[in-house]
């Protein structure tokens, strides 16, 4: 039981890192990873919203009708983002200014909505909070890794502190959007290589759990759907397994 909770918390860090494995939240990642301070602030703010929204959505999961679940999630997430925004504006004005529009854009960060839809609406409060925390920390970790590389090599500084011996060897493109994509791609490749699952996960292993189109699709599992598309029959063992998961 304890191990299960720990695995929920830890899987967001590397194995299911929202940025580098699930490739969610790319826009704020690229925009806010030019400096370590901005990345740290964005990561903390997103984690806070993620934990709170996951918990609330988990509490309300049996009350929220399926037809209006997405508007409900958005209202909850937007509420928490506004709360974080107001608190930062009041008590951390410098960070608030630094984050600019990206703070408000946490509302549409797909990691948060994605975790609400994929996890929080099917699990209890504690698990949802742990998932939110794990995913938030994973997001923070990815942002920090990217920001460190981009700021140190692109700007010759770390968290605003100048690194004198790098002053003459800056790579300015790293602070620009193309550099961001470059670092992003390299980090994804590294995580893909060292992560527990090498290469792309086979489609047949995905269950319908968390798939927003599950109710419309009408299939038992993605494996069944894939086989039908390919013109063959679904693998009986896989279908059975997926049924069990569902």
């Amino acid at each position: 039981m304890k191990n299960n909770k720990l695995s929920i918390l830890l899987r967001g860090l590397i194995a299911e890192n929202p940025v580098l494995v699930l490739v969610l939240g790319t826009c704020p990642t690229l925009a806010q990873s030019t400096s370590v301070i901005a990345a740290l602030s964005m990561g903390i703010a997103a984690t806070l919203v993620l934990v709170c929204s996951n918990m609330v959505i988990s509490v309300l999961r049996k009350i929220i009708p399926d037809t209006v679940r997405i508007p409900c999630y958005i209202v909850v997430i937007a509420g928490f983002v506004t709360v974080v925004q107001l608190l930062m504006q009041a008590y951390l004005p410098d960070l608030y200014k630094m984050m600019g529009v990206y703070l408000a854009l946490i509302v549409v960060n797909c990691i948060i909505l994605g975790r609400a839809e994929m996890f929080a609406r099917k699990n209890n409060v504690i698990d949802s909070a742990l998932d939110g925390l794990g995913m938030g920390l994973g997001f923070l970790l990815a942002l920090l890794a990217m920001a460190t590389i981009r700021e140190v090599f692109g700007n010759g500084s770390f968290a605003g502190i100048e690194i004198s011996f790098l002053a003459d060897y800056k790579i300015p493109i790293l602070t620009q959007a193309p550099g961001g994509f470059l670092v992003f791609g390299i980090l994804i490749a590294i995580v893909n290589k060292i992560g527990p699952k090498k290469g792309a996960e086979k489609r047949k292993n995905f269950s319908c759990e968390g798939c927003p189109s599950a109710s419309l699709c009408g299939k038992v599992s993605c494996a069944e759907n894939c086989e039908l598309v390919a013109g063959g029959e679904p693998d009986a063992a896989d279908t059975k397994k997926e049924e069990g998961n569902a």
Binding site: V68, V75, G79, L86, A90, P93
Partner: protein, 363 residues
Amino acid sequence: MKNMINKKNLMPVIVLGVICLAVALLMGAVNMIAAPEIKARNDKAIADSLGKVMPDGEFDEKEDALRKDAPETISKVYTEKTGKGTVVVLVTKKGYTGKDIGITVGIDNDGKITGMEITQNDESIVPSELKPGGSYGEHYVGKGAGDVAELVTGATVAFTESAIKGALTDAFVYLGFAEEKPELPRDEAEIFELVKAFYGEGAENLVSYTAEDATYVKRIYKEKGKASYVTYSFVYSQYGTPEFEFLTYVDESRKVADIEKILWKVSDPKPEWGYIPPSDSEVDAFFESFVGKTVSNVSEVEIETGATNTAGRVRDAARESLEITIPEDGSYASRIIGIAAVVLAVGGFIAYAIIDKRRRTAK
């Protein structure tokens, strides 16, 4: 209708409504805690920035509503609560590269500057005193609208300084301490007479057009049916840099056939800058070198040492004269034909629709 209002349809509405209400209450509660802190910070920030240019001034967080006639350089105006004067926040783009230069200036009730600060300077070449927080504003303390024009600051970036002085003049004009300068230095009739004298034969047939989307070329004069034309160019640099006016005769092959200087107003020589303006003969020779130039080689004209910025602008103005779009003589006729064609097309379509409908009804 009754079937539609059942539990299944009502529940989502109620749940969403309740969640919205709960979230609104949460935001309201947080706002109650955060709002005083935010207001205090904003007040302090405004007092800090405005207080620098009007010491001991008290200001509202909200700026005054701008009048409709406000020059585009004025972005915000704050009236001091106790009646000490007004603080004007200006943004000008009239520097050398056209990038933003932000200025905050305090002007008291006698029209004197109480303080001036550069808050932003995105120009490419910026001496330290003209950078945000620099000492440049000190030159202006105690100066009025007229003094600003004559002020010699020692700053060596003429365009930036000119832009700043222009923006400050806008602030004085807005507050009623100076009169707005006219768009052109002389009236239309006078310009037309100068053009006629310059044009020679056929001058009585000239028609005047306002140049659209041009920086320096203000008027275009041409005879109907002819491809050649004359442009009147003017740069009104409010202060600091010289003013100039000239006429350019562009022939059918878009080549400068003739050019005439009307005004070349050079600033007073400033020995302390080591500034020596070019002589009259040098200026005449400079203008003469434009004759025969086309768009492709007008940039080969060498600019005058001693009036680098002004000569550069003359060259830009000459290029603009060569590139400018000339209004077509038959523009009205073509517009009428165009409108008639559209009316006919729409009318034809409507008529067809009516006839078609009647035919169907008859069937």
